[in-house]
Symmetry: C3
Subunit: 334 residues, 3 copies
């Protein structure tokens, strides 16, 4: 299936070959530059949550491709939005997303959306309703800038792994939970499980008891592993998990059993501060590269020693955001 | 009078011929495209209130014309502003609009302003002081992005009516008040009265007792009607109002007798929820088109059934915002 | 030393000759226009505090030079940032500036920073830690958009003084403290002391007892004066200070002895409302020009009569912001 005109909501909607095509374009543009698109793509960037890297890289990528991005923050500088169908809108939201999406689809060539979970009810949040509503009504490609997955981060991570590891197939990818003093979106953890298996790696998820990722994403990871010849392991054995790892990716995420009850989870989480990525743990690996999506709380999730070590890919991965996204925009809007 | 260099504060400052000239340019650009302006227009967009469509369409229009827009939100990312003359500025405002406007006039080719009423005292708000102060001092064209009228919305509405009705003269334009759970700016209602009569239509204003528009605007509408051969009717008879209508435009607005006393008005307003635009009412019309300026509270102001019907112009009108404004900028700054 | 690739953190890092080179480029571009830079400079504008002129002029200057600026507001639309080294980040800040700065250095050709003091402890604030941390890690030129000095404002002021006074050497520059109802950043006062002496002027600082500028800046001003053949005088004698002045620059600033204790300083400050710049004081000068960096509280810091007089440079100075900054960007990134 050609990539032109497609949505970019999850890497799961794309074959490995399609993802590799985007990554190849990214590597080529990074090395040899890019051409403006004839379509001069106009992007709406809808941010329901803060951003530094995502906004910078999308605004610059649009401009580099000869287009223009407009950043809107519904509920702040733009109107708050309703996404449920058919209800009388007599609450806070002034605008229904079905109208906003259709209007944005008239003005723009793509609508890009960041909308984190509301952290009250996971059965609701996992439906990704705002993104799905925008997809349904925009009439132009919709791009996920992080909701319950973060596919643009996946492009940057995959591009970085290809640069560092050369071949990803058969390599051991460790996704490790780390402590964090606040409840946090699980999107990047879900995404790391998806992209590592999509790239043919053997995924180990290291997490304390109770901190499993949603089965929906684990099932997708297992399907990927099966298709690409990799494997999926879940463990709470720190030593075993780090042993032989080729790439360590850390992220904090919430305990789904306590979703929306942060005060309770806080106590459950407290004993697991030792999951921090540190030098002794890294010493057990196969001289692994290590990364995180940023922003990252230093010395809580990863020690300075590791973060500033030669194997750290923090800045390379973040820097690759613009190359991954420019390539994806080139393929989808070119 | 040539349009170049003019302010765009209210359509009342323009003859019908001049408005038609802007609309003709809009229709032409919409059909056949546009050329960047040699002047590469630099626009300051001053938003004292939120926006989605207006900001998107102005930012894109500036860029499409080869220029650049900078969005400023005084009191948020820019300094709060004083507009009264001669007073010692020892309150919250750090900056006088006379200085800000003159500085913006040095940097930009036009200053565009959204500044809603403060909803405390209509005799104050109706003076439109912030807009008038900026007009006085900017030294470059000033464009109203909604204060107590919304002339850019009028361009989009007029363009949409010309597309749908072909000829507007002699057609029945129904402006109907609808319920809304909050106090709301009356600008678009005022504007609908102005532009419909300017376009030679017979205006019927349907509103509950006490919800009259300010006489200042009704007088302007009557002047327009007189000049263009139309008429102006005000009624609270729902059946009579809808009967034979060619275009239904709905909007909520506040009761001027209770201006700034929202808690009191709430009770006065409550019995009028049935003014909602619904299918039975629409059935009484001359197969009318129906629209609203957006954002719109669905199933409070208009039912989903009507909003999503083939006669609904919600998205067409919003989509025409960029064509109306690009044309206006072309005429004024070209 | 060539200017290309340099940081622009303080005018003290530049010789008078280098500053004059930037000013000459500014005057030339203002008169005859400019060319886009081949480098198409991409600027990150990091605003930890509000802005009108600085943001407008940087966004427009980047665009005029063929580049693009992205405005980020950490703690609002971007993540809050930590700048201290080595600490466990378990507080509010989600991101360490060392990571953010390095990432921005990957995306952008320069990182521009506005970060006011926190007004709690001057010994901390005077270290300018956020700016210094960004400088240390960005790997690209860093530009000060106002921290504890405001060198971009200095360029605009110097350009304006050259336009008005022709020759600045030997002229009397009066920097006068004025009352202000709130605590305020001292950056522009520090900067006025630096640039006036850098330009060979005789600096008089007029301030109430206790309102001395930090010795760090006064020492730099005295060094400048020594090098350029000027002088530095500090006084609380209003008549003597205004007498013979060629350029009057007013600014409010805080009492360093009460730094961070605003409720106490308020009482100390109250008796000095008469430091306001007014016509009787201006009458004592050598027909001086008068200015302020804006935003300015009229009739508190300067009377309308003076602000709107023919000798007022308020708007000329603000208008010169874009010329000074475009020239500086041309020299540093061209």
């Amino acid at each position: 299936m050609p990539l032109k005109g497609r949505n970019f909501l999850s890497t799961q909607d794309f074959t490995r070959k399609e993802i590799e095509q985007i990554l190849a374009t990214a590597a080529k543009q990074k090395k040899s530059g890019w051409k403006p698109l004839k379509s001069k793509p106009k992007l709406a960037l809808l941010f329901f949550n803060p951003s530094l890297r995502t906004r910078s890289s999308f605004e610059l990528a649009a401009w580099q491709l000869g287009g223009h991005a407009v950043t809107l923050q519904p509920g702040k500088d733009a109107w708050a939005m309703e996404w449920r169908e058919g209800i009388p809108m007599d609450g806070e939201a002034e605008e229904h997303v079905k109208d906003a999406a259709r209007v944005l689809g008239r003005f723009f060539d793509a609508v890009c959306v960041r909308c984190f979970p509301k952290f009250q009810d996971w059965t609701v949040d996992k439906q990704d309703s705002m993104l799905r509503a925008i997809e349904r009504y925009a009439g132009v490609p919709v791009i996920n800038m992080e909701t319950i997955v973060h596919p643009c981060q996946e492009l940057a991570l995959a591009l970085t792994m290809k640069e560092k590891l050369k071949k990803t197939d058969g390599k051991k990818f460790l996704l490790t939970w780390t402590f964090h003093p606040k409840g946090l979106n699980t999107a990047v953890a879900n995404s790391a499980a998806l992209i590592s298996t999509k790239m043919g790696m053997n995924l180990t998820v290291l997490r304390p008891p109770g901190y499993d990722l949603d089965p929906m994403f684990m099932d997708q990871a297992r399907e990927n592993a099966k298709a690409q010849g990799g494997s999926v392991t879940v463990t709470d054995d720190i030593d075993a998990a780090y042993k032989g790892a080729d790439f360590v990716y850390c992220k904090s995420w919430g305990n789904l059993n306590y979703f929306g009850r942060w005060e309770e989870e806080k106590k459950v989480r407290e004993p697991y501060r030792h999951f921090i990525v540190d030098a002794p743990k890294m010493a057990k690996t196969n001289d692994a590269y290590v990364s995180h999506c940023l922003p990252m709380r230093r010395n809580v999730k990863m020690t300075d020693e590791v973060a500033d070590s030669p194997r750290s890919c923090l800045i390379d991965e973040a820097g690759n955001r613009i190359h991954g996204q420019r390539a994806m925009l080139t393929e989808i809007l070119g």
